[in-house]
Symmetry: C2
């Protein structure tokens, strides 16, 4: 008997038929003598529809009221799913995030989970109930409803799994696992049986949209084994854990692309100590995450600093730096959004010298120019022109994984 947390995304519960399917997966798990906690997102496009409804009334409503509105989506999901499970004859109860004791900070629309009081959850499991919890939300100190922002339901699921020390946290999506590359672009990409937390983190931040980083971080911190699998194609997915078995000969686990990148260049900065510190502390104060940073070698007593941020933060970053133009004393600032980041990720990289050079070679062979390079112990990322990115990931995937998977 194991304690399993199962999370289903919005597309897995988008209508009555899909909810019935999810209910079958849940009751099968329960009847195999497991305790089951389920975390659900809002149905299909519900969240977008609610946002549209709100904007029809007020184009910039308070985030507090927006969270009050959006949280109805998951509440409807959990009630409907509980009804489907009742119909299949298993004992079940749905809980709101506040009933499940999920406390967050007060950062409405992007809140972080602080603590989980699992008293109620435990009591329901002791009664052998399947427990269905609303993902994506919590309550703050004032007992107001908050939502967790992007990837919030994954985070809810993993945080709950950590709190109740679940044996496994299954993340059901519309893909059947983590692939060596995006199968929509690289048909020969193959599914990984296992991957490490660190690789998953690097893949996620490199643009693979399977799991949200926050959820992987929590899973890693608390040692919660994750499984990414499909709700429509019930077969083993990809296990994410601390140490993973490697695919036979390859040192890397996957190739990822991130097109949500803007490249900001500041030129002719005075070459004195503390300039870089000042720039990036200004951005940190505005909570702008910086990814790759490139600093030119000083020349004529000036230097250039180039860095990347997510596209949505580019304007704010430039605005912040322009406000301090006199103090920073630079000549010019520019922004290029026609870029993409290609990354290879793999914990085996450490023991396989020359991985980076194989990446550069693959790109050179198809004539792609590299604009920036960033490396970590288990990742190499390059920034290239956006127009080259399809060709680039195919070439890189081919270099590391060959023409056909399993051939």
């Amino acid at each position: 008997m194991a304690l399993i947390v199962q999370k289903f995304g919005g597309s897995s519960v988008k209508d009555a038929e899909h909810i019935r399917n999810v209910a079958r997966i849940i009751t099968d798990t329960y009847r195999a003598n497991n305790d089951v906690v389920v975390v659900l997102s809002a149905q299909g496009d519900t969240t977008d529809e609610l946002i549209e409804k709100a904007h029809e009334i007020n184009e910039s409503p308070s985030r507090r009221e927006m969270d009050m509105l959006l949280s109805t989506g998951e509440q409807a999901s959990v009630a409907l799913c509980a009804m489907a499970i009742e119909k299949l004859g298993c004992p079940v109860i749905s809980l709101n995030a506040w009933q499940a004791g999920i406390s967050t900070d007060s950062n409405y629309s992007n809140a972080s989970i602080k603590t989980i009081n699992d008293e109620r959850l435990r009591a329901e499991l002791d009664r052998r109930n399947i427990v269905i919890v609303t993902g994506f939300q919590g309550i703050n100190r004032r007992y107001d409803i908050t939502t967790l922002g992007r990837g919030g339901s994954d985070t809810s699921a993993v945080a709950l799994a950590a709190r109740i020390r679940a044996d496994l946290c299954q993340i059901y999506t519309d893909v059947d696992g983590v692939y060596t590359g995006d199968p929509r672009i690289i048909p020969e990409a193959r599914k990984l049986d296992e991957i490490t937390f660190d690789e998953m983190l690097e893949l996620a931040s490199a643009g693979a949209q399977v799991l949200h980083n926050r959820s992987v971080e929590i899973a890693k911190r608390f040692g919660i084994q994750l499984e990414v699998l499909s709700s429509l194609d019930p077969k083993p997915g990809t296990i994410v854990k601390e140490v993973a078995k490697k695919l036979e000969s390859t040192a890397i686990s996957g190739v990822a692309r991130d097109e949500n990148v803007a490249c900001i260049a500041i030129t002719h900065l005075e070459d004195k100590p503390g300039v870089a510190y000042r720039i990036f502390s200004l951005l940190a104060q505005r909570k702008i995450n910086v990814d790759i940073i490139l600093q030119s070698i000083g020349r004529d007593n000036t230097k250039d600093i180039t860095f990347t941020v997510a596209k949505g933060y580019a304007d704010e970053a430039i605005e912040e730096l322009m406000e301090h133009k006199d103090e920073l004393n630079f000549a010019d600032i520019s922004c290029d959004t026609n870029v993409a980041k290609i990354s290879i990720v793999g914990s085996g990289m450490i023991n396989h010298p020359g991985i980076a050079s194989q990446l550069f070679e693959a790109l050179y062979n198809v004539g792609i120019n590299i604009r920036m390079i960033s490396t970590s112990e288990i990742k190499v990322s390059v920034l290239i022109d956006a127009k080259d990115s399809d060709m680039a990931i195919r070439a890189v995937h081919h270099k590391f994984f060959g023409e056909r998977a399993g051939a």
Copy 2:
């Protein structure tokens, strides 16, 4: 500066335009230097749509999960209305029933309010916030969401008004007040400026669907002045209070019709003590409300008992009595649903002898047969054939209120 509770029904908030209209009424009240608490129903047909969605998945879901589902309707309403008020520039906060401290019993889908902890509500009013509360719902001892059943939002509004000792509780609907008769059938019906709680109670139980009885009972018990008025036609409505000014010369306040009536006849019951008691205690155990009761004078050592119940309970009542046929020892039981109840209501009746005979005269003049009669201190009801009911209420209204209102 007054403390005013305003309740808006589903049709008053059915879309963005209606919500904007409601927001204007609320902010106008607030800007006239009042403290305002608002209670809202779910938008338009939301509740019916949610029920349909549930039944697509499970034709008989648990009432607990149904309440979990349905309560999302009011939550969306209050958030959207708060956004509309934000846009009009007034400070506002929406609260769920559980945030507003509304505790109920655990009778899911038909719960009763037990207590209201108004701490949060008071704190928000002290901050000069307009407070928007979800109607129709509460939480029970286990912190599970309950709904109050029919007329629930009216009940929420009046209960909140009682708890915070509001100066006035305004019930906004799609009619502009309480009329002497249903204006859809009696064009000359006139709006009442004032009516007493008791009259309103009798009118409601006599079939007038303006206010739900539970809300009027609470208002009467706590002395909360009610006003029934229209959200689309902002002019004074009908005030409901303990002592009301009367329309000039009339002893009665209104004529009402109830078509949701079934007449059950039990014939040839043994004429011995305790038979009636036994019949109606069996029905009471099944929580079936009995309205008019008629008992024939004993003959041949047997008697007949005829009574009325709401149509929806007729089958259950007959089933219950048939189960005890041997014990009760009756010859036959029959049910007639082609009946209607016509009532006249008015606290002035006590001081105006002959009101009942005027009613009978009005019906006699148009050739309508009376099947049953029931009287209280402020009401006279008659049961007639359903097919005669339009003609009956017109004749009765004409008898007491004349041809043209205000003429």
